[in-house]
Symmetry: C2
Subunit: 144 residues, 2 copies
DNA sequence: TTGAATTCCTAGCAATTTTGTAGTATATTA
DNA sequence: TAATATACTACAAAATTGCTAGGAATTCAA
């Protein structure tokens, strides 16, 4: 039941962008240096966020990324779902395709649905702005 | 954020044992046949449950496994934690060793703690007896 | 107009974890 | 003593994760 580095890095990445939201476009290189994360790996993660329009970019010198909205308008849940795929504990709850026709009537699906709802409720109640505020007070260990 | 087959199989395995709780010792072979899960793999999963005394065993002919308590005395959370290790979304929340000393003061740890609490609350509120009752009405698809 | 900086895109790969298999030793019962 | 089980250990295939590599396309500044 682990969150992967993709989701965790995405949270740090977005928090970094939020903290520098008034500094124009921010390069991956500078984020990678500050956060001590591989540049090339960050590139792949931010691509996921760009595809869903959570961030926008320009190429070339002085290029980089910036948020498309105010930090208070993002939730942690949204960021995690874009990068992790889905927070569902089983594939059957992934949108679109229920691989098994009996699933709808299955005992355990009900449990996984409750777990998913509980997780979503938590992460959807926390905004990126909250992360920024808390980070300013507390810092970030980088390992979780 | 997926539950592995170990946890899912363990739930089916325990439900199977609960349904046959008055039939003496139940062999892995018969469970494997009914649930259509590899015998040898089930063996490894049930070993985890036996180690924590959720089930007891006897060897030899007519041997097998049975529950050590009434189905109503097990929670889904307990079964999952024994087989999955922990439901924590990050390693830093795993008991005993916090690998990073700054974690205690980290922004995101707080979030992961809330997620863990929410998940535990759900799975700890569902008993094995509930699974048995629902399974009798609804069945189990075997895929989640 | 040229060069530096930067995103964009694709492919691959090493390490780890998951999901099993296989074989043998040990115990129990009829 | 033969059949039936668990107990234990080791290994292996498959999938996923986490990351690396290289080059094309774009933009800006000197």
């Amino acid at each position: 039941m682990k969150i992967s580095t993709k989701g965790r890095y995405a949270l740090r990445l977005m928090t970094d962008l939020a903290i520098h939201k008034d500094d124009g476009y921010i390069s991956i290189k500078s984020i990678a240096t500050r956060q001590n994360i591989s540049e090339k790996y960050l590139e792949q993660i931010i691509k996921l966020l760009a595809k869903e329009n959570l961030v926008e970019s320009t190429r070339g010198a002085q290029g980089g990324y910036k948020l498309t909205r105010e930090p208070v308008e993002y939730t942690v849940g949204e960021i995690l779902r874009v990068t992790e795929g889905s927070l569902a504990p089983v594939a059957c709850l992934e949108t679109d395709d229920n691989p098994c026709e009996n699933c709808m009537d299955c005992v355990t699906l009900e449990i996984w649905q409750c777990v998913l709802d509980a997780v979503n409720k938590v992460v959807d109640s926390i905004t990126l702005q909250y992360l920024v505020d808390k980070q300013r007070e507390k810092g970030n260990c980088g390992c979780c």
